[in-house]
């Protein structure tokens, strides 16, 4: 210990030496050293009483009850007093509700927790955490405004995806296509509302909202950021909430649209898929996307990049990083950045209510379309498809596939539909990315 003390004094003496030398040397260069300290001082002295009062005025309670006139929103616009006061309190309660859903009910906590916490932080008065100089704003600018974070998430999801079940039974991809009717049906619905004057959505906004029906978080966030960033918060929350609620939303629809006999259909065992098929498949899909719809290639390209790295089998460390540290880090920042859009002035608008309503309609319509498509396919000759796997076409990987399996086992305990449902499930991801590409391409020319 004495030893360390000695070294500490040695350090101090070294500094002292440095300053002696410096003093001698700095006669020739006084200005440079001084320049750094005589900076302009922004602080103004006040009497203690005024100081305490101005401090009390800067507390959150006062800011919430008597909002400051000159406080601007995160986007630099003026806000209503409601958005500065009661609106923030309501939003904080909404984030608490999201916490409860995520933790107690297990609703997609990986994204809802960071989103809700970001929303909580974004609704703090004065601090401006969601604004251009706050850390949520910095995160949003760094990775959401340029759509990088959802792309990285998609790489990780691609690395986690196994296309084996789809390759084993390609025609089930059609179920993943039919479920996209959730997207486009909702778009029509939104336009009907708009035409009726109930709501004032532009076509771009309506498209961004409809993509909720794709039941893919990163795709929704990508499209919302591109077409209607002002709705990003509501769209992301609706998207992840409803993905988490798939076990509640889907079964009644599945039961209503199927007969008892249909639900008991047993599907043929899946054939073994070779490694080479799995390796070529991502390139095949990407190639088709290039030829048919280049606008969908950012999403499909990122997804297939991750999948291709995994299936290549030669870059195990990159695959592992994609599936773990990289996707986790990005998830944290994506969630916080999306949460910054839960600020009261952006979220507590009538549009949000319509987004929540349209979102659940989109999920329901997509589910129904998938089930009906399976029934349609059964009218043709060939191996029969259990319509319960049609609902998995909405994506919400792997939740929707598990729901298909669970409902199927309710009617026949020996009927394992899980792997059969994974085919439409992953096809739904591709289908939604294609639908996203169509929407983007509509607004490009």
């Amino acid at each position: 210990m004495k030893n360390i003390l000695i070294k500490f004094f040695a350090l101090m003496m070294l500094f002292a030496f440095a300053f002696t030398v410096n003093a001698a040397a700095s006669e020739h260069a006084v200005e440079s050293t001084k320049a750094s300290t005589h900076q302009v001082e922004t602080y103004k002295s006040q009497p203690m009483g005024d100081m305490v009062i101005s401090f009390l005025k800067s507390t959150g309670i006062v800011a919430l009850v008597h909002p400051r006139a000159n406080e601007m929103s995160a986007t630099g616009k003026p806000m209503s007093n409601f958005s500065k006061g009661l609106g923030r309190i309501i939003m904080i309660l909404v984030t608490f509700l999201l916490f409860w859903l995520a933790i107690a009910k297990g609703f997609e906590p990986l994204l809802l927790l960071p989103i809700a916490f970001g929303g909580l932080l974004a609704n703090i008065p004065i601090a401006g955490i969601g604004g251009p100089h706050g850390f949520l704003g910095v995160i949003y600018q760094a990775g959401l405004s340029n759509e990088l974070f959802p792309i990285i998430i998609f790489m990780g999801v691609g690395a986690m995806t196994d296309f084996g079940p789809l390759l084993s039974n390609p025609k089930t991809a059609l179920l993943g296509g039919a479920a996209q009717f959730g997207i486009f049906g909702t778009l029509v619905g939104a336009m009907v509302l708009a035409q009726m004057g109930l709501v004032d959505f532009t076509l771009k906004q309506a498209s961004a909202i409809s993509i909720i029906g794709g039941a893919d978080g990163p795709t929704s966030i990508f499209i919302a950021t591109k077409l209607a960033p002002e709705l990003l918060g509501a769209i992301a929350v609706a998207s992840y909430s409803y993905m988490a609620m798939v076990p509640i939303i889907q079964p009644p629809i599945m039961r209503a649209l199927t007969t008892d006999a249909e639900r008991r259909i047993k599907m043929t065992t899946l054939r073994h898929v070779s490694r080479l098929e799995k390796l070529i498949f991502p390139l095949l899909v990407l190639g088709l996307a290039i030829l048919v719809l280049p606008e969908s290639t950012p999403l499909i390209g990122a997804f297939m990049f991750g999948n291709f790295l995994k299936e290549s089998g030669v870059v195990e460390r990159l695959n592992d990083t994609l599936q773990n540290s990289l996707i986790n880090i990005t998830t944290i920042f994506l969630g916080l950045g999306v949460g910054s859009k839960l600020a009261a002035d952006q979220f507590l608008v009538p549009e949000t209510l319509f987004i929540m309503v349209l979102g659940i309609i989109a999920f329901a319509v997509g589910t129904a379309a998938g089930v009906l498509m399976a029934k349609l396919m059964n009218l043709f000759p060939g191996h029969k498809v259990n319509p319960l796997i049609g609902s998995a076409g909405v994506s919400a990987v792997p939740m929707a596939a598990r729901v298909s399996n669970k409902v199927g086992m309710e009617y026949d305990r020996t009927n394992m539909l899980l792997m059969h449902a994974m085919g439409p499930n992953v096809a739904g991801v591709i289908g939604s990315a294609v639908a996203a590409g169509v929407l983007i391409s509509m607004f490009q020319h």
Binding site: L166, L167, P170, K171, A173, L174, G176, G177, Q180, F181, I183, F184, G185, L187, V188, A190, M191, V192, A194, Q195, L203, A206, S207, V273, S274, R275, L276, E277, I280, F281, L284, V285, L288, A289, V292, L293, A427, I430, G431, V434, A435, G437, V438, L439, M442
Partner: protein, 77 residues
């Protein structure tokens, strides 16, 4: 802004669902072609997939080696 929004929505729907299905149908066709080509010309050798280098396996081997050694020692002791 005098466009009939509902009509636009319906146009989007036809174009969108059409594209999605065209894409998926072509994809299914290509998948079937690919699979038949691969299974005919590049069939997978029946390799032993147990030779993965997973940690748990390495661990198990260590454990078994240690136990074998210990028991051998014990038997002789």
């Amino acid at each position: 802004m005098e466009t009939n929004l509902i009509l636009e929505g319906i146009k989007f729907m036809f174009l969108g669902m059409g594209t999605v299905f065209v894409f998926l149908v072509v994809m299914i066709a290509c998948m079937n072609i690919m699979s038949s080509i691969i299974n005919r010309y590049f069939p997978e050798p029946q390799l032993n997939e147990d030779v993965t280098t997973s940690n748990s396996q390495a661990n198990n081997k260590k454990i078994i080696a240690a136990i074998t050694a210990a028991i051998t020692y014990h038997r002789e002791g």
